[in-house]
Amino acid sequence: MERRSLSPDGIRSLFVALQQDGFRIVGPAPVTGSVTFAEVGDFDELAIGLGLEVGPGRARVVESPAMFGAIGGPESLKRWQHAPQRVIWAGERGTNGFTGSAVVEESSGPVAFFGVRACDLAGARVLAKAIRRNLDERDLTIALRCTSFAPTCFCTSMGTGPDVPEGGADLVLTEVAGKTRMFVATAASPRGEALLAKAETKPASAADVDKADALVREVAAAMPRAFDPAEARSALAAPASGWDEVASRCMACGNCTAVCPTCFCVTVLDRTDPTATTAERIMRWDSCFTPGFSEMHGGPVRSSTAARYRQWVSHKVSWWWEQFGTSGCVGCGRCIVWCPVGIDIREEVSAAIERSTAHV
């Protein structure tokens, strides 16, 4: 498809076109202490000219030369795809016991996800397999190819970025930094094409297109390799010891699973009103790090933090393949940034691979 170029005003016109089409817009926004995906009502609510300086267990908002420079904020698309809590059943006590029915959520309108990265899109695809629920088919994705990366990024190792795969989004933008900010846009679906037609654009020059592609290639070349997914899959498939050291640092607080774009585990519980006449069944996010997660008669199956960390990381990079035909890790690095003590999944998986080969 023909590639177009957009100025910052062109991006604004794209935003306005989305609003006119009735979309709620989720994009990178300044949220107290960070920049992350949030619903915005106005173009100026987006985090323009802001970036994030991130590292293991650390994030600070900084100025960015790029218009949309923040990578590594805590929110992925998970919150919109898989709500933290929802009512799935409601019932009322009658003369013959409880009668009730499943509660189907009312959609609050189609969402346009603006400025999503290749890893975010990969996360949404992987999560959709696990929860058997895609983003709403009326939703729209406007991707932003990465022209920089954070020290916590490892999408190239997981094969999920920095480029957006064919069909991965409706519209793909690449920000070309220069004296003036400029974006190269490629419509990747008929809906993306229709949207682009409503925005202020110009045909992109061959030089701009080349520059945009080169920037993404440079990111791909410069990002350090983390671990080999195939090695991780086999090395972590079998039960093995060696998790005590990481468990001495792990607080079992559950932050990694909450920020992970693919961690889908939930708990289901019932609520009643004080007179026990109405009841609701609630589904809410859980984590394999909570004691209740593996609790059966008598107590939790995995009571030690070492057992819980092993469960999380082994499922993520190994057993996920058997279950869903893909890795559960997309290399976004959120678990590294938002772990308060900066536990680095790259190091832990690499160490586990090393332990498994040392035993052979």
């Binding site: 949220v31 992350t36 607080m251 607080c253 609520r271």
Partner: protein
């Protein structure tokens, strides 16, 4: 017949009992569902046991308390402790690391009139407890949830995981990772993660979470410029008496 409910007080500030009265929107429904027969904070008429459910506020600090809690346990089918004092000894457990006689001589003109124990201890150190509601004060939501669960004959939803789970569910950006010291990763959820939603670190009102790893949290505090003694001081709050925090304070 509605379940007979009693509310008792030991060494405490009455704040948790006030949380019961603070449940304004739900109070009428609760009063309709249960029969509150003993509640000295709220009513003058008192009825003797046995009770179906007894809520106990406060910690054990006197020889008399030791006897009274045993009788209450005998009188209550289900015993629920409410608040940081009842579950970990409260702020008054600071004396567990000091000489109570020394404090008494500073505060009272005639300390010889006092008859107190050397320590302030939680109810569960003395009698078996069925349900514990943590917090300073307890969460109104958890209190209502517990009463409704007991009425409905189901298990109340009282998670023992960290405050972080609540922060993430409500979409609060981690204050610790962004530079503010916070006890959240080692503290039990239940308050709804209020303080971090106002960009303040967690103060630990609900006491330690399960699998609390304070030694590791110390490295995160150091990373935001708070040395180990500062973390030890931060743990000496409303839940200072919790064994996990006592151990950490000694180690830090």
């Amino acid at each position: 017949m509605s379940p007979r409910v009693a509310v008792f007080k030991f060494a405490s500030c009455d704040g948790c009992q006030l949380s019961v009265l603070d449940a304004e929107d739900e109070l009428l429904a609760i009063v309709g569902a249960v029969d509150i027969v003993e509640f000295p904070e709220a009513r003058t008429r008192r009825e003797p046991g046995p009770y179906d459910v007894g809520f106990v506020e406060g910690s054990i600090t006197t020889p008399e308390d030791l006897e009274r809690i045993k009788q209450i346990r005998q009188d209550c089918k289900v015993l629920v402790t409410i608040g940081a004092c009842a579950t970990s000894g409260g702020i008054q457990a600071l004396r567990n690391m000091a000489d109570v006689g020394g404090y008494a001589s500073i505060v009272y003109a005639h300390p010889e009139y006092l008859d107190v124990l050397a320590t302030s201890t939680p109810i569960a150190d003395h009698v078996p407890v069925d349900i514990q509601l943590y917090g300073c004060p307890v969460s109104k939501e958890q209190l209502i949830e517990t009463i409704t669960a007991v009425v409905a004959g189901r298990r109340p939803d009282l998670p023992s995981h960290s405050v972080c789970v609540e922060c993430k569910a409500r979409g609060t950006v981690c204050v610790l990772v962004t530079g503010t010291p916070c006890l959240g990763p080692v503290v039990r959820a239940g308050c709804g993660a209020i303080c971090p939603s106002y960009q303040r670190g967690c103060y630990g009102c609900f006491g330690p979470s399960s699998n609390a790893n304070v030694a590791s949290l110390a490295t995160a505090w150091e990373a935001v410029g708070m040395p180990r003694p500062a973390l030890a001081r931060a743990l000496q709050g409303f839940t200072v008496g919790a064994p996990e925090f006592q151990e950490a304070i000694r180690a830090l």
